[in-house]
């Protein structure tokens, strides 16, 4: 017995191993501590802002050059795209008239029903234009950095979108920059991320949760009620159920659907509306309740 204890002590005297053990424990403590933390200390904010600014001066010009070179290769597509856009604009002006009428109608109805001021303002989202100033090389943290921070009114869990559709959520806010977690990082089986609720544009009563399957690399909408069988090609938008998340942002279109894990729900595979790599300009969606604060 005494001999064994002696051996353990001799073992511990091996300084290198001892330091390694202590280091391991310290690191596990650090990782555990930093897991699921939302506030940042000022040295972290300072470092992030400093590096973010430096990155931004490079990321944006390089991105512009890279995009230009890629655009040269796609010059023939541009004509086709232009035609498509013109057709869309025509459709849009048509819809705008309809929309204005409906909005006026809606306002009147809300007034008749004695909606509160807060309820009336529910859909008045404000958009902040943000430049992407960097992306990280960590394969398990798919984050990008944007050049707006707490000074500009950005808060954690705000939605980030491009012109095409939903991109992600603000995860960490610094003074001048923020970190955005992409929706491809919302893995259902792991203990991370804020769930995003979604609905079909066609029938707004439907409900589902957006998840990303790392193994197949597909965006999914799960837990769809069995009465709302998703049709292929249907558009999926955010439903706004849940705190800060705005509604009506396009997520993608249904590519295929299948019966879910327990046979009671449907799971739809979604083609995302946006591309998540090589982002340059995004919008931060500020919900109206936040503006007064």
């Amino acid at each position: 017995m005494g001999k064994q204890v002696g051996e353990i002590f001799r073992f511990m005297r091996n300084k290198r191993l001892f330091i390694l053990m202590v280091g391991l424990i310290l690191f596990i403590a650090l990782m555990g501590f930093s897991l699921g933390r939302n506030r940042l200390t000022w040295p972290e904010k300072f470092l992030n802002d400093a590096f973010g600014t430096a990155q931004g001066t490079l990321y944006r010009p390089v991105g512009a050059v890279a995009d230009f070179i890629r655009d040269l290769g796609r010059l023939s597509d541009v004509y086709k795209e232009n035609e498509q856009l013109r057709r869309t604009v025509a459709q849009y002006t048509q819809d705008q008239i309809k929309f204005n009428l409906l909005e006026a109608d809606n306002k009147q109805l809300k007034k008749d029903l004695n909606f509160t001021e807060r309820q009336k303002n529910m859909d008045n989202y404000r958009y902040l234009i943000a430049q992407v100033i960097g992306s990280t090389s960590n394969p398990y943290e798919k984050t990008v950095t944007i050049n707006l921070g707490s000074r500009d009114g950005v808060k954690p869990d705000m939605a980030i979108r491009t012109v095409e559709g939903l991109v992600g959520l603000v995860s960490k806010v610094k003074t001048f920059t923020s970190t955005v977690t992409l929706i491809t990082d919302l893995d259902p089986t792991s203990s991370k991320g804020t769930p995003v609720s979604a609905t079909f544009l066609g029938h707004p009563d439907s409900f589902g949760i957006i998840e990303y399957d790392d193994e197949t690399g597909a965006l999914q909408m799960t837990k769809i009620d069995e009465h709302d069988k998703p049709a292929d090609g249907e558009q999926v938008i955010t439903s706004g159920l849940g705190s800060l998340f705005p509604k009506g942002i396009l997520i993608g279109t249904v590519k295929s659907s299948q019966v879910g894990d327990f046979g009671l729900t449907y799971t739809a595979i979604i083609t995302p509306a946006t591309k998540f790599d090589h982002l340059r300009e995004v919008f931060v969606v500020v919900p109206p309740e936040e503006e007064g604060q």
Partner: protein
């Protein structure tokens, strides 16, 4: 041989900025999830080779933690831990064997595989990923390590020339 540590730190900061701003644009879109080179890590290996294990440990630890806090989404520490440990181990190895380019390429390849594996297992430990190791290895770890090896070999000559002070004994065979 002694490494000019101040210049190396300056280089590492510049490389870290480049890694987050320019490298994503150079990698083709189809490969953007697979090729994620860590430039500071490559520099850590050079520090281990030319500066000794203690310097490499501190260097790896510092820049690993810096990288972690820049990419902070879920947790801080995997790269700090991995780069510190590998810097130290590579330093140990380099002190025993002569630091030739062939030996160095082996170190770069194996430690590249090790770093990404350590990071994977940490994320696995905290249940932040549930991918299979074999899949991650094929999908991201192996291609990244090969790319890192290539970058390390590209860096080899400039770093030896500009960032390593030659001691008197070895100055004779390489005139400047």
């Amino acid at each position: 041989m002694k490494i000019r540590i101040n210049w190396v730190i300056l280089c590492a900061i510049i490389l870290l900025v480049l890694e987050n701003s320019i490298v994503p644009w150079l990698v083709p879109p189809q490969w953007s999830e697979r090729l994620l080179p860590h430039l500071c890590f490559i520099l850590t290996l050079f520090v281990a080779g030319f500066g000794g294990r203690h310097v490499a440990f501190m260097f790896g630890l510092g820049f690993g933690l810096l990288q972690d806090s820049l990419a902070y989404g879920h947790l801080i520490g995997p790269y700090g831990f991995g780069m510190g440990l590998i810097g130290y181990l590579a330093g140990l190895l380099a002190e025993r064997k002569s630091f030739t380019i062939g030996f160095f390429s082996w170190v770069a390849l194996v430690s590249g595989l090790m770093l990404d594996s350590i990071v994977y297992f940490i994320y696995k430990l905290f249940r932040l990923t549930d991918l299979q190791y074999a899949q991650v290895f094929y999908w991201q770890i192996a291609p990244t390590a090969l790319l890192q090896l290539l970058i390390a070999l590209l860096f080899y000559v400039p770093i030896r020339r500009y960032l390593v002070k030659l001691s008197l004994s070895s100055a004779e065979d390489s005139p400047e």
